[in-house]
């Protein structure tokens, strides 16, 4: 058989990039690739622990209410945990979505619009989520006391 027969094509066939971004940032895609592989294993620990604590311990999903969240965020550990999970998951997921947009949105205007919307969504959610974690008030003054965590009694 000759090297030109189909069985002998080495490796996957890689076509030319379908869209040319017009921007040249040497190494940017390599950092993207590295970031996906560095954030992945950290996210495994963060998210599987999140799921285990919230769904498997205690009464699982049935236990989740305002008082449960207040109880968790009373500890800086869980505040930092959720903050790190928020930032890493949104950046990892956002970067993944960016790759998908580049793969599927070929028309230039669509590609641009989707990247814009993605950027706004990722930044907006990270800012909102961070504000929620760091400005959280476990004992709002006008709230029904029966919905609050028990430690609020000492605060009043």
């Amino acid at each position: 058989m000759t090297a030109s027969s189909p069985e002998f094509v080495p490796g996957p066939k890689i076509k030319e990039p379908r869209i040319v971004s017009g921007r040249v940032r040497p190494g940017a895609e390599q950092w993207s690739w590295r970031f996906m592989r560095l954030s992945g294993p950290v996210l495994v620990v963060l998210i599987l622990t999140h799921l285990f604590v919230n769904l498997m311990t205690g009464d699982g999903i049935s236990q989740i209410d305002f008082a449960f969240v207040a109880g968790k965020w009373a500890a800086p550990l869980w505040q930092w945990w959720d903050f790190l999970m928020l930032a890493l998951a949104m950046l990892h997921g956002g970067n993944g979505m960016r790759l998908l947009i580049n793969d599927y949105a070929h028309r230039a205007w669509l590609n641009k619009t989707l990247h814009g919307a993605l950027g706004v969504a990722v930044l907006g959610i990270i800012v909102l989520g961070s504000l929620v974690i760091w400005t959280f008030d476990p004992c709002p003054i006008d709230a029904d006391p029966s919905l609050l965590p028990s430690f609020c009694e000492d605060v009043r």
């Binding site: 769904l55 008082a67 969240v69 909102l128 029904d144 919905l147």
Partner: protein, 111 residues
């Protein structure tokens, strides 16, 4: 090839879930009533099944992601591709068997 499709689909699904998830968690800044009301609807059977699907998607994406990383970094893993795909599915099955009964009990058992 199939794992590539699984990885893409689960990644996108988790991304959109996370957008909604941060928004619903933000309700703790509105009022305890607002938060409890929305989270309350997540305890219904329909959402209970959606949550099971979400956990399945996370586990698959997570273990397959680790497999991708391993294959990129070690020729041993590259040579044992097939076995590693099996490992992903077996680990996935074991964790789901541990998770599902307990979760479904919480959702359907009224616990």
């Amino acid at each position: 090839m199939w794992m590539w499709v699984v990885h893409r689909v689960t990644g996108v699904a988790i991304f959109f879930f996370l957008l909604i998830h941060v928004l619903d968690t933000a309700l703790v800044r509105v009022s305890p009533e607002a938060y409890n009301e929305v989270i309350g609807s997540y305890k219904t059977p329909l959402y209970g099944l959606v949550e099971a699907g979400l956990v399945a998607a996370i586990l698959l994406h997570a273990f397959n992601g680790l497999r991708i990383i391993a294959v990129d970094h070690s020729t041993w893993a590259l040579r044992h591709q097939k076995q590693l795909v099996w490992a992903v599915w077996i680990l996935f099955a074991i964790l789901m068997v541990g998770f599902l009964p307990r979760h479904l009990m919480h959702v359907f058992g009224g616990a």
